[in-house]
Amino acid sequence: MIQQAFSDDELLRGDRAMLLVRRAEERVVRQYAEQNADFARGVQPAHAIKCPTHLSIGQEGAAVGVCQELNVDDVAISTHRCHAHYLAKGGDLRAMMAELFGKSTGCARGKGGSMHLVDPDVGMLGASAIVGGSIPLAVGAALSAQMQGRTRVAVAFFGDGAVEQGVFHESLAFAALRRLPVLFVCENNFYATLSHVEARQPVGIPQRATGLGVASVTADGSDLADVLHAARGAVRRARAGEGPTLIEVRAYRWMSHVGTEPDTGRMKRSAEELALWKDRCPLAVLRVRLAARGVPAATLDAMGTEVDAAVEDAVEFARRSPAPSPEDLFTHLAGEGAPS
């Protein structure tokens, strides 16, 4: 039983982080519902989220499990679906909400939006909306770490679709060749947009990694402990100079590919499939475990209240914040500060 290797505190930390992602994204869903109602009535809401929003609800275990094994100094980089990675890596919640609302207090000053969350202070180096595009950037960050002689680890988060890009292979092979301290975390949610992975890939994802000289492990995204365990091993290997690891985390996206609807109606994913995975909700699974360990319900309830308050505060912060001014269009072309 892998989960017995982790303390109550560790699991509680993971619980809170997953809850934060879940509640923050559920809040985004509510915001969309509200603003869409406004739009439908022909009203322009004073504050709205106007950017393509890809939610991780159902997949929280991957981001949280991996990031919990990282230090602040370690770096991560993500994709169009980056809310969970940003938050799990320690990104500022207020700055994220402000970014979604297109405000100047946003983590990217309103320049990036939902697909480009970034918080260099906690090692969140950003996200690319080009499928596969950010994978080599993580390899480069690992190369830096190796050349600088620091123990920093770099993590590339990406989806099962990204595995099909040429740059994925080039990146893994180069990382293997140079034994770079990098984790390739593939969240296999079985779909790229509406395409099932079996219609797109001839072999399993770990087999591809093997073909590129990269060690791999598959973790169950519904079981936080399983992800923690896989990540711990991979981080240890990376820090020990043993090279990269690919972690395939199997998880399921509950919502539509983009936007805030469940997409089982109009698409190929079936309601049965979704129901099966909802039964294996990573939060629910963990809470059953915590209860079995005797963690009092009150602790968890308090945590929920606290997280909800933080989310509400972040939305309030975003609403209160000013929009950028049109002149801001021309700032930030080549970075404000020196690279860290």
Binding site: Y32, Q35, N36, F39, A40, K50, C51, P52, E99, G102, K103, S104, G106, A108, G110, K111, G112, G113, S114, M115, H116, S128, A129, I130, V131, G132, G133, G161, A162, E164, Q165, G166, A192, T193, L194, S195, A199, R200, Q201, S256, V258, G259, E261, R266, M267, A323, P324, S325, P326, D328, L329, F330, L333
Partner: protein, 348 residues
């Protein structure tokens, strides 16, 4: 007998027709078999011909472009579709180093008539990587054609030209055109690649517009007409090759030119048009050639910034007015575009 058809439906109809007429035509790309069908442009052919001739691909744009070339070299007529033209940058080696050059490198012994469609995104905070208009990066590679139909009629006719021609063709389609309707004949017809279309005749100034900027130019012309300024709007339609004759003839008559591009103002397609017109009509122009296009920054996300980023009809009005009235303050972005945003539909 008019038959109004949306731009997306015209693309779908052209594809279907081409597939009916020529068993060599097939359609592929990430998501072409989705219920959404690349904003409705691939659903009809998929329904009609099924997965054998209309198929989804892995997210391997580079190799699939190469595969399209190889298929074209061996007698097939591949049509590849991308939901955003930003993704074309992954395929530029195959497009520019291979498709565009294969015929020439083989001394004309082979042709590589691949057709690649790609959508120009805009709005709803898609930001820097989902909203580019990459014609300027494709145009400097001789050996492939680049077209940008602005109407449903042209979308159908030019796509059919591409699918029956001998060139590699990249067809860039602005997302905001997909819903626009136009009178589209039912049968097979082609619109010659390389011919511009005079969308509106006028005498005081010429606006040469690309793709969605044709819509903005027509709006601007309406506004200016009320002020007594009579604008000729030329829909360029085809970037490579482009119709120097029609453009120059128009500007020779009006004496004034504004180029309205969906891509960057600097180093954009407008620069080529401005350079040629200035060269050909040296001494005949009544005002400097102006360009309206995107400013020198990536696309921002926040609505306020998007509005400042995209030029629209108001910019064209201001620019043309200044040229005609002789008080020219240059072209700047304005906030007029914001009103185009629609509520989020999932298929942004």
């Amino acid at each position: 007998m008019t038959r109004l058809l949306a731009y997306s439906d015209a693309l779908a109809e052209a594809t279907t027709l081409a597939m009916e007429r020529d068993p060599a035509v097939f359609l592929m790309g990430v998501g072409v078999d989705d219920p959404g069908g690349i904003f409705g442009s691939t659903t009809l052919p998929h329904d009609r011909f099924g997965d054998a001739r209309v198929f989804d691909t892995p997210i391997s744009e580079c190799a699939l472009t190469g595969a399209a070339i190889g298929a074209a070299l061996t007698g097939m007529r591949p049509l590849m579709v991308h939901a955003r033209c930003d993704f074309l940058l992954l395929t530029l080696d195959q497009l520019a180093n291979h498709a565009a050059k294969w015929s020439y490198m083989s001394g004309g012994r082979l042709s590589a008539p691949v057709v690649v469609r790609a959508v120009i995104g805009r709005g709803w905070g898609q930001a820097a990587q989902h909203s580019q208009s990459v014609q300027a990066a494709l145009a400097p590679f001789p050996g492939m054609q680049v077209i940008m139909p602005a109407t449903a009629y042209d979308a159908k006719g030019m796509l059919l030209s591409a699918l029956t021609g001998r060139w590699p063709v990249v067809c860039l389609e602005h997302r905001w055109l997909y819903g626009l309707k136009d009178d589209v004949p039912e049968g097979f017809y082609t619109v010659e690649i390389g011919r511009a279309r005079t969308a509106r005749a006028g005498t005081d100034a010429t606006v040469v517009a690309l793709s969605h900027m044709v819509v903005e130019a027509m709006k601007a012309a309406d506004v200016l007409a009320k002020e007594g300024i009579d604008v000729e709007v030329v829909d360029l339609r085809s970037v490579v090759p482009w119709d120097r004759e029609t453009v120059c003839a128009s500007v020779r008559r009006t004496g004034r030119l504004v180029v309205a591009d969906t891509g960057p103002r600097s180093f954009g397609v407008g620069a080529e048009i401005a350079a040629v017109v200035n060269e050909e009509l040296f001494g005949e122009l009544r005002a400097p050639v102006r360009r309206v296009g995107l400013p020198d920054v990536p696309t921002p996300c926040a609505p306020v910034l998007e509005a400042a980023f995209y030029p629209g009809s108001a910019d064209l009005v201001r620019t043309v007015r200044a040229l005609v009235r002789g008080v020219d303050h240059g072209a700047r972005g304005d906030a007029s575009a914001a009103r185009h945003d629609k509520p989020f539909s999932g298929a942004f």
